[in-house]
Symmetry: D2
Subunit: 116 residues, 4 copies
């Protein structure tokens, strides 16, 4: 097994987990929490699916491609929502989500012909 | 939010997590570990994706349907592999996987028309 | 490995994961989200640590006792906070947390003499 | 919330998750799997607790200190076991575990006076 096989995508997933957890926690401290509800909800799902994608890639699972495909969609949705808010934690999270969405999409397309 | 919405499927996922973790740990204690390698590998992915599916359903995430669709596939693969081995932990795990695969497939098909 | 060894505690942990995820998602839909912030924060940590405790027990890990000891504390804190709110999802979560705290504490005390 | 507060320790935890998953998967492909059983078992617990520690730090949870304290112990045990095997994946994992153990211990000691 080549440990470097998915290294960039794994690191993007882990950076996205951290950004999403930090964003959700920071959203909960905002004065207008109500406005951040959609952001918090997406942060939670995004952190969970990114964490799973990173591990499935690290173990070179047969299901890594499928998990990365859905991870790209969740990251896309989370990045769009976070991008609507001007706070640093949201903008930082939006950037991490977009990068992760891009790398997960590329990963899933590059390996989509491999047998499930 | 209706806490009972996905209750049966959530419980099937959690039972599958427990069965897979127990099966993997028991496989590692078998005399012929080599024969159990495929089982251990699938147990790990299956436990992780079932754990995620349960949480996405419990929080009624927009992505729960998608996660359950892939969860059904991983459970199907894991159940097939575990079903090949006669040990109690493998047979128990195979049954848990098949039940979880069935409920996750039904869940994903019943709600597939909802917007992602 | 005895698959029934920690069965009641594992099931209490999984029930607590589901209750915490449902509670956090429901808190985010309340009119006064601000009032629920502490509850949401604790729900997230409690769900994560309960999920880990269940898996460490299912695989009969040497670290299961230690994880259950901290799990009991997180559940105690989450149950206390949820118990302050009258909504059904909070009251249901408080009950799940208290039961899980009790079983995790008993588990960690019963096995505390085993070598770490 | 300061997003950089625990950055080095979070990154060490994520690097350890990846190394442990890669090591476990690679151990399962070794000719003498039997010899790697202890390594695989510790890799699984270590990956799970490191993943939790990273998230608890990223969300600045009140329980991050406690989770990092136990994470340091699991990493220490996993690093010692991996260090006994000469394969690249084990040596790489041992290094990641030792670094993570060091940073998690420092983190837990530096913040141990904060109220749980």
């Amino acid at each position: 097994m080549d440990p470097e096989k998915y290294q960039a995508c794994i690191e993007a997933c882990h950076a996205c987990v951290t950004a999403c957890e930090n964003c959700a926690a920071s959203c909960l401290e905002e004065d207008d929490v109500e406005m951040m509800v959609g952001c918090i909800e997406l942060d939670r799902s995004c952190a969970d699916i990114c964490a799973l994608a990173a591990r499935e890639m690290a173990r070179d699972s047969d299901f890594a491609v499928r998990v990365c495909a859905i991870c790209a969609e969740v990251c896309e949705a989370c990045g769009t929502e976070c991008g609507r808010h001007k706070m640093d934690h949201c903008q930082h999270c939006a950037a991490a989500c977009r990068r992760c969405a891009k790398l997960c999409l590329e990963m899933s397309q590059a390996h989509s012909s491999q047998p499930l």
